[in-house]
């Protein structure tokens, strides 16, 4: 069962958005999120919504996959709406028991809900159309200027991609250890949360030991293949901006200007 886990949530299909350079998508997502917090009018939100709808359409990813991401934050969304609804001071609209809903409260609550929804769906568009590998490559290249202030950009990217490669392996291993322990009478299912957590200790110890061993082996294998950090390394799949990427940047700039103008 654990073997089937897919990482990130990449949705394999052919589309313009899929083919875009990961850097474009990263920059666009960041700008989009910023724009959501800058606009402050119904027209601004409409523009953001329209932009998002066009992107979703272009990405050829079924809409239900976008909404999947929402499930994780439904509680957060509900709480935010509730707090804003009841705790914003202003002109009272409805009053039940000790709780008062104000006019301003409704406005802020709706705005926050729309913002959060757009934010989650907006970043889903990126993760659904970019492989985790591509994403780390994009980040590495985007953050390259940070190397001047001694941020180990290449190392961070390498760590991320190795982590991504080993997560399924370690999950499989967890599954194996778990089964081996269940076979010898371990109980991971019953009892309180505390008891369950304690039952995980004998699972984590062997898992950690094996993870360290793997790390040691991997480091040796990397050295044997002449790995010596990011300097002077060439790329098998270098990121090069194409015409469509430049176009995408122009579209993004137009959108941002539009947002400023509308408010």
């Amino acid at each position: 069962m654990l073997r089937d886990i897919t990482l990130g949530q990449y949705y394999q299909t052919e589309s313009v958005i899929h083919r875009l350079d990961p850097r474009v998508k990263l920059v666009a997502t960041i700008c989009y999120i910023l724009s959501l917090f800058l606009v402050d009018s119904v027209w601004g939100y409409l523009a953001a919504g329209l932009f998002l709808a066009v992107m979703i359409r272009l990405s050829h990813v079924p809409f239900k996959f976008m909404v999947k991401g929402m499930k994780a934050i439904i509680l957060l969304l509900a709480l935010t709406v509730a707090f804003n609804l009841f705790l914003t001071p202003g002109e009272p609209l409805v009053s039940v028991w000790k709780l008062t809903i104000t006019k301003e409260g409704v406005r802020v609550a709706v705005m926050m809900a729309v913002r959060l929804t757009f934010l989650i769906i907006g970043s889903s568009v990126m993760t659904l159309t970019t492989t985790p590998n591509n994403l780390t490559d994009g980040m590495e290249k985007l953050m390259k200027p940070l190397r001047k202030i001694r941020v180990p950009v290449h190392e961070i990217a390498m760590m991320m991609s190795i982590a991504l490669r080993f997560i399924p392996i370690l999950l499989e291993e967890t599954d194996k250890i778990m089964k081996a322990q269940i076979a010898r009478g371990a109980d991971f299912e019953s009892g309180s949360i505390l008891k369950k957590a304690r039952a995980l200790v004998p699972l984590l110890v062997p898992l950690f030991i094996s993870a360290f061993r793997r790390a040691n082996d991997l480091a040796m294998a990397m050295e044997a293949r002449c790995y010596r950090g990011g300097d002077n390394r060439t790329k098998m799949k270098p990121l090069i901006y194409q015409r469509r990427d430049r176009l995408a940047y122009i579209v993004l700039a137009l959108y941002l200007v539009g947002c400023f103008v509308i408010g």
Binding site: R165, M220, A221, Y227, R233, T234, K237
Partner: protein, 295 residues
């Protein structure tokens, strides 16, 4: 001088306690002399803890000798300046395929070595293609390594080493974690590389069947090379191998037992075909067969 040469090589693992005092010294490799010719298929045999893996790590400059020296293509492995040249000349494949694949896609993993060697992008693609074809994994180039079988993963690892254009490949028990089919796949790929591309192969193993095709076999015990020679000479010394806690291939053992019970068979039969041929000869000449039937 051959491609790899070890002169009086010794290596000690030093165990220290928390204060850094020496607790114990384990002499894993002890006075080994080797001279390996370019293009040879060499096998190093030994039971667990005989020092064969430690020896292998010296050929790739992953470990440095405590005493003596190792030369790869005329370069001393103790010389820090030539470490990367040595690692490119002598590629290494390890035991656990999961722990040596770095890429999340087969082709990216094979490209990892050339990337480190600063090979230009177009040439990386050429190298990846030819190496994957050489081990018969080209059609899996877009797959995730996690979805491959053990034998396939190990072939990808081999491709990853070949892509660096080494002149020698050291395989440290590459088949120990594989099922019999995976073992055959890997050994077939390694032999093909040795014969077609002339790459020197140093195969470290404790499976005797894999050693049969080697040009030369070294047997290690307790850090020392205790036997060396052609497979036929080595395997004719069944008693000696048993004393070193090694098994001979099944056919060789059968031939040995037959001979012991009186059949006039030659020493060191390595394959089933050979044994069949020899038995046919015996049947024609009529000697011995009656004896077996009688007893």
């Amino acid at each position: 001088m051959g491609i790899i040469k070890a002169i009086n090589l010794a290596f000690e693992y030093i165990r220290r306690d928390e204060e850094g005092n020496v607790e114990g010294i384990l002499r894993a490799v002890d006075g080994v002399n080797l001279d390996i010719e370019q293009g040879d298929f060499i096998a190093i045999l030994g039971h667990n803890g005989s020092g064969k893996s430690t020896l292998a790590k010296h050929f790739n400059a992953l470990l440095h000798p405590t005493e003596g020296s190792v030369w790869v293509e005329g370069k001393d492995t103790a010389d820090a300046a030539s470490v990367w040249d040595i690692r490119q000349t002598a590629g290494m494949v390890f035991q656990n395929p999961d722990n040596q694949i770095i890429g999340q896609v087969v082709e990216e993993d094979v490209g990892f070595g050339p990337e480190n060697l600063s090979v230009p992008t177009e040439q990386i693609w050429e190298r990846v293609e030819e190496s994957l074809k050489a081990v018969g994994m080209y059609k899996f180039r877009k797959h995730s390594p996690n979805k491959l079988s053990g034998g396939q993963k190990q072939r990808v690892s081999i491709a990853g080493v070949i892509a660096m254009h080494p002149r020698c490949i050291i395989l440290d028990e590459p088949t120990a974690m594989l099922d019999p089919n995976g073992r055959k796949e890997v050994i077939r790929a390694v032999r093909a590389l040795n014969q077609a591309e002339g790459i020197t192969v140093i195969l470290i193993t404790h499976y005797m069947e894999e050693v049969v095709y080697a040009d030369k076999v070294y047997v290690m015990d307790d850090g020392k090379v205790v036997m060396q020679g052609e497979p036929r000479t080595i395997f004719s010394q069944v008693e000696e191998l048993r004393r070193l806690r090694l098994d001979v291939p099944q056919v060789t053992e059968l031939a040995y037992e037959l001979k012991k019970s009186g059949l006039p068979l030659p020493d060191g039969i390595l394959t089933i075909d050979e044994l069949v041929e020899e038995l046919k000869k015996l049947k024609c000449s009529g000697t011995g067969v009656d004896y077996v039937i009688d007893s």
